[in-house]
Amino acid sequence: MTAGLEIAGLRVAYDSIRGPVVAVDGVDFTVGHERVALVGESGSGKSTVGRAILRLLPPSAHIAADRMTFDGIDLLGCDERRMRRVRGGRIGMILQDPRHALNPVMTVGRQIVESYRAHGGIGGTEARRRALDMLAAVHIRDPERVFAAYPHQLSGGMGQRAMIAMVLAAGPDLLIADEPTSALDVTVRHSVLAILDELVIAHGMGLLIITHDLNLVATFCDRALVMRAGRIVEALPASGLAEAHHPYTRALFAAAPTL
């Protein structure tokens, strides 16, 4: 039994008025204790892959795979209860825009505490203490204030750090981050990424990061998977992106602005 995420032959189709639309068309890859980037143009199926792993696609989506396991747990076959323990507890997911991904009528603190209580089996005071620690760990200077704040009271960068704290709370072994910085101001992108990187290494987590930003891939990742029209067209070390063979990858790279 191998550790980490193993996917083989993943296919996803969405129902539509013109019949099924194949969004992911036979994808194979693994993620161990490493940082893997999933890149590709818009609509190539990256988010669909990320959500399929947690079985969080809308009802109109149909998933099929030859194999989709995490540490030996069959992610497609297991029942909903088991899956709930995987979500958050084993595999966490960070979404793109903290302004939409945090519940607007619940304080940030409650939302982090909720993560602990869903998995940790710990009491309220203990959860609160750990939540404050976690907020400090994502370099929030005034954890007490942010804990009591509502999402709309935070800046984009702070919101995204609060979300990272929320997702890391239950101590997942793999983190899926779907464009974690693209909704942020250019000025705070780098610091949020640095924090993410620091925590991933500190906790020994695996990371699957979905992004358009090839500079980010080169700086923060070990490997890159290039997606196009629902397929992985190339897999290569992140450092080797610039020397990619596939014309599509070269075109992608050529289109990216340099840092």
């Binding site: 959500r51 947690l54 969080l56 909903e80 709930r84 323990r85 995987v86 979500r87 958050g88 507890g89 966490g92 997911m93 979404l95 793109q96 825009d97 939409h100 991904a101 945090l102 519940n103 607007p104 009528v105 619940m106 909720e114 993560s115 869903a118 998995h119 509502y150 709309h152 979300m163 929320m166 997702v167 239950a170």
Partner: protein, 348 residues
């Protein structure tokens, strides 16, 4: 009962006006309301004096009323006279009861409020869960069943439903008490404190009166609550569908929360805010719907008073009721505005 879905959406979205603008618009709306009732009472009727004093009035009464209404004056002066009277709480005399209209309304309104409140309670307690279930099971059979049920609730004439309910549950099955507010035997036994017979009798510990009152109110409240149930369920469904599509719901699921918690805590927590407006609007609609329901159930409230006044062409009473219900409508709107600010952290 005429609140429509679109209006609700408009009202739920068009929030967050500043306090001054709000006060100004409330004042302007009340002024408009009085202008309309003035026209209905003083301009449309061929002989407005007769419409107000009734055709059995003596020559002196007629002359005095004519004098008080200032009918020789230009229209705008007449309106000012009318406005002055209404603002001082003088809605004129009721031809039917011979008492000041405002005193009559004060006597009959509590019964209506009691009925409408219970009906709204039923509507909220049943409508919200139904709406949530329909949204969660969207497009599948529970959703279809709930849709048909709520559309039936929109489509049924309440006065007829009341009659059928009486026929079935009172005359045939004998499960509930018949028309009226309480068994004749208990009439006037509970000391009126709040005006709600249920609360008054409970306060006084008169449980037999309470039981009889509950027996009597259940059927009309259920009948009146049908509309509110349908309306609240439909609105809950569409607000919930909106919310369930939001990113934060995905994030909550990705945290490993139970589906129940995601739906009832996260999504419904956000739905509750616009729902406040819906409940306020449906409460207003029920006050209006009570006009017909009370007639059927011989419920001694404002609706029955208004109907009696209508049938006797008692214009002062009719317009008095119109103004009072209109002002309650405006008040409910204001209240839902304030609650909205209180509940939504983004609006504070």
């Amino acid at each position: 009962m005429t609140v429509t879905d679109d209006e609700t959406f408009r009202m739920a979205r068009g929030r967050l006006r500043s306090g001054a603008v709000l006060a100004g618009s409330v004042a302007a709306t009340i002024l408009g309301l009085l202008l309309v009732t003035f026209f209905i009472g003083r301009v449309i009727p061929v002989d407005p004096v007769l419409a107000v004093v009734g055709d059995r009035a003596s020559a002196e009464t007629y002359a005095a009323a004519r004098e008080a209404m200032g009918l020789d004056e230009p229209l705008w002066r007449q309106f000012l006279i009318y406005l002055g009277g209404v603002l001082r709480g003088d809605f004129g005399q009721s031809v039917l009861t011979g008492r000041p209209v405002l005193a009559d309304i004060g006597r009959f309104f509590p019964a209506t409020l009691e009925l409408a409140t219970l009906a709204t309670l039923i509507g909220v307690l049943a409508g919200v869960p139904l709406g949530v279930i329909a949204a969660v099971r969207r497009g599948r059979w529970p959703d279809h069943v709930i849709r048909v049920v709520t559309l039936l609730g929109y489509s049924v004439p309440t006065f007829w439903l009341g009659m059928i309910a009486l026929l079935l549950f009172y005359a045939t099955l004998d499960w509930t008490a018949g028309p009226g507010r309480v068994d004749l035997f208990f009439e006037g036994l509970a000391q009126p404190v709040t005006g709600s017979l249920l609360i008054d009798s409970a306060l006084a510990g008169a449980w037999d009166v309470f039981g009889s009152a509950l027996d009597h109110i259940l059927l009309p409240a259920l009948v009146l609550g049908t509309f509110s149930l349908a309306y609240i369920a439909r609105m809950t469904r569409s607000f919930m569908i909106d919310q369930l599509g939001q990113e934060y719901v995905l994030a909550a699921r990705a945290k490993g929360l139970s589906e129940a918690r995601v739906v009832w805590r996260h999504a419904l927590g956000n739905t509750a805010i616009p729902l406040v407006t819906v409940v306020a609007l449906s409460y207003g609609a029920l006050l209006e719907g009570s006009v017909l329901t009370e007639t059927v159930f011989a419920w001694p409230g404002l609706g029955a008073y208004l109907t009696n006044s209508l049938l006797n062409a008692d214009m002062n009473a009719v317009l008095g009721c119109t103004i009072v219900v209109g002002i309650v409508f405006i008040g409910l709107n204001l209240l839902s505005d304030l609650l909205y600010r209180l509940l939504d952290p983004r609006a504070r």
